[in-house]
Amino acid sequence: MTSVIPRQKEMGSGTYTFSSQPRVVQNRRKYRGVQPTVNEESFTYGNIMYDRRVVRGNTYAQHTLPLSAQPDPIEFQRQQEAQRRALAKKRAKELLRPRTPEAVEGRKHIDVQTELYLEELSDRVEEKDMECQTDAFLDRPPTPLFIPAKTGADVATQILEGELFDFDLEVKPMLEVLVGKTIEQALLEVMEEEELAQLRAQQRAFEELRNAELAEAHRLEEQERRHREEKERRKKQHREILLKEKETAEKVAARAFAQQYLADLVPSVFSSLRDNGYFYDPVERDVETTFMPWLMEEVENIMKKNDLGRTMLDMIIRDVVKKRLADFQRATSQDYLKYEVNSQGQEIKSEKSVMQPQNPDTEAKHPELQLKDPETEHKDEILSDI
């Protein structure tokens, strides 16, 4: 099918000369990757029948303008107008055609293939419309199953039994991948766990030491605190002792001073008191205060009685004297001469009569005379009793 153009060098002389050899445009590769370098030497030319530069078909049928013919301006204008009209008509027709409703907000219409089997639309087979008329009233054969036109080239290779697929062999890489991936994941997890476990163990060991040291530090701190407190307490105690000692010393001094001070005081106080008469003999005092006044009083009473008796006697004597005087004067004046011898006896008689009646009288008049000192009476009685 393919024909190879003989190389230019081999052609020797040619009509054309090339700066570079003409070659077919390279098809785009389906996958990206390293483009194989095109070797000028080994380049093989493709089918000339598909070369676009080659004119195909009958050249006589092609419409070519005669070189000499001038384009008629009127004709040209008419043609243009017709063309424009056809375009306008086509646009109007397009506007009138019913369309699918506008796409919802945020979406847009696109053309999709609705067939079950998707085809690659890239390389289209060139089409040409052909018409043919089937024979009338022929039995229509069943529609054959649609088989899309194949693309690409068919290549066939003979494969013998066991040549294509050996399960044991084929499964190996697959299994390796599967097992490898699983083991990798598992190892990752195990390593992670191991790492964590090791970290924990190390942490525990560290914590063991840390806790012990922490406890030791706290213990020492506590010990220090206790010692400090003890020291404080002792200091305080010592201070108190000193204070007390000082106080005691002061007390002793004060006591000594007081004793010294008071030693002279008592005798002096006693002597002054004694001088002031605060100390006395009760018997003496009793005699002084009660017995002596009584005695004096009694003495005074007796004196008074004596006095009274004397006064009474004086009065009586006076009365008697007065009476005797009066009697004497009467007798002398009237009967002086008659009764001069007898008068002497009478006088004694009268004297006696005067004395007798007068005694009870005095006694009545002076009751105090009757109230003799009971003690004296008593004394008399007692004396008489004895």
């Binding site: 089997y117 012990a212 706290h218 506590e222």
Partner: protein, 340 residues
């Protein structure tokens, strides 16, 4: 020859639950687009694929830079439980890598993910708590968790969660308590942890004792623990069959007995003979912690009197294989034989 029929059977070796991963660099951006898809199945498949991919630190790095965390954050509030499960799982796996943790801290995932604390699906909560635990291993992470006020919520969750989740919460608390204790104390953590000390599961006892050890580090914690009378329980735990439980209980006692109040509480509940028995334990943490506890106990005159008779037991630790134990034993002997 090609035919116009399409097979209904999908090719074999393809997991329908996973979305196919694009080749090379395109893989993660494609998945990120799919994560934002409005269709549920696409999101689920993308998450499934992502779960496998983020095991690789390189992928985590790329994911953090591509803004995966933001799209995953929005997926945390998805209606579908599978999506939430897988999103939390992705967070958990990412938190396993340093890059992932830093990314999580930087893009404030913690407040968003902590809204799942009351999620009805167990796996979601579990993955969330695992994420917290991973994040809290970093000091900055623990600080971020404390800052998000999670201490109180986690302490409350301790009472009502499943056992597995309780373990994770206790582990998280362990790290958070190293940052801040006062919040936990005000949330009544000591009472709840005390209850967990007598739990049948060794893991929970271990974690509870560990958390108590952390609580006892500051002075307030020690006082609270003494007031709640946790010391007898801890002394009882010294005879536990589990190594870690013994070590942590001894550690907690070591911290509590620093105060005078704690010393007498421990001596009165008979801690000294039990601690002396642990000095020759096979596990170095137990030995170390019990030696430290004995050291603090011997500072009390009563403790010293008892321990002076048993100094030879501690002297046997002087040629221990662990250097820390040897040093602790030397200090212990020095403290015991101290004379005023």
């Amino acid at each position: 020859m090609a035919q116009a029929r399409i097979s209904c059977c999908l090719p074999p070796n393809i997991d329908p639950t996973k979305s196919p991963v694009a080749f090379g660099e395109r893989a993660l951006p494609k998945l990120n687009e799919e994560l934002k898809d409005s269709e549920l199945i696409t999101r689920q498949r993308a998450l499934m694929a992502l779960c496998d991919l983020v095991h690789d630190p390189e992928n985590v790095y790329q994911a953090v830079h591509l803004g995966f965390l933001e799209s995953l954050k929005s997926l945390l509030h998805d209606q579908d439980s599978t999506v939430r499960q897988k999103a939390t799982e992705v967070f958990y796996i990412m938190a396993g890598h340093s890059v992932g943790r830093q990314g999580i801290l930087k893009s404030d995932v913690i407040p968003a993910i902590s809204k799942l604390l009351d999620d009805p699906v167990v796996i979601c909560r579990q993955n969330m708590h695992k994420t917290f635990e991973m994040v809290s291993e970093l000091p900055a992470g623990a600080a971020a968790l404390v800052k998000a006020n999670l201490v109180v919520q986690l302490v409350q969750k301790l009472e009502c969660e499943l056992e597995d989740i309780q373990m994770i919460i206790l582990e998280t608390l362990h790290f958070m308590l190293q940052t801040d204790v006062l919040q936990a104390l005000s949330a009544g953590a000591v009472g709840i942890l005390k209850g967990k000390l007598s739990h049948p599961s060794a893991g929970i006892r271990r974690m509870a004792a560990k958390a108590l050890m952390d609580i006892c580090v500051p002075l307030e914690g020690k006082e609270t623990v003494c007031q709640e009378e946790v010391v007898p329980l801890l002394v009882h735990l010294l005879q536990d069959s589990d190594n870690e439980v013994r070590a942590n209980a001894a550690g907690a006692l070591m911290n509590i007995t620093i105060t005078t109040q704690g010393k007498y509480a421990a001596i009165n509940s008979g801690a000294i003979p039990k601690l002396l028995a642990l000095v020759s334990d096979g596990y170095s943490r137990v030995r170390l912690n019990s030696l430290k506890a004995l050291t603090t106990l011997s500072e009390a005159p009563e403790g010293r009197k008892v321990l002076l008779a048993d100094v030879n037991i501690i002297q046997s630790c002087l040629d221990d294989q662990s250097e820390a134990v040897r040093r602790a034993a030397a200090i212990a002997i020095q403290v015991i034989q101290w004379k005023p």
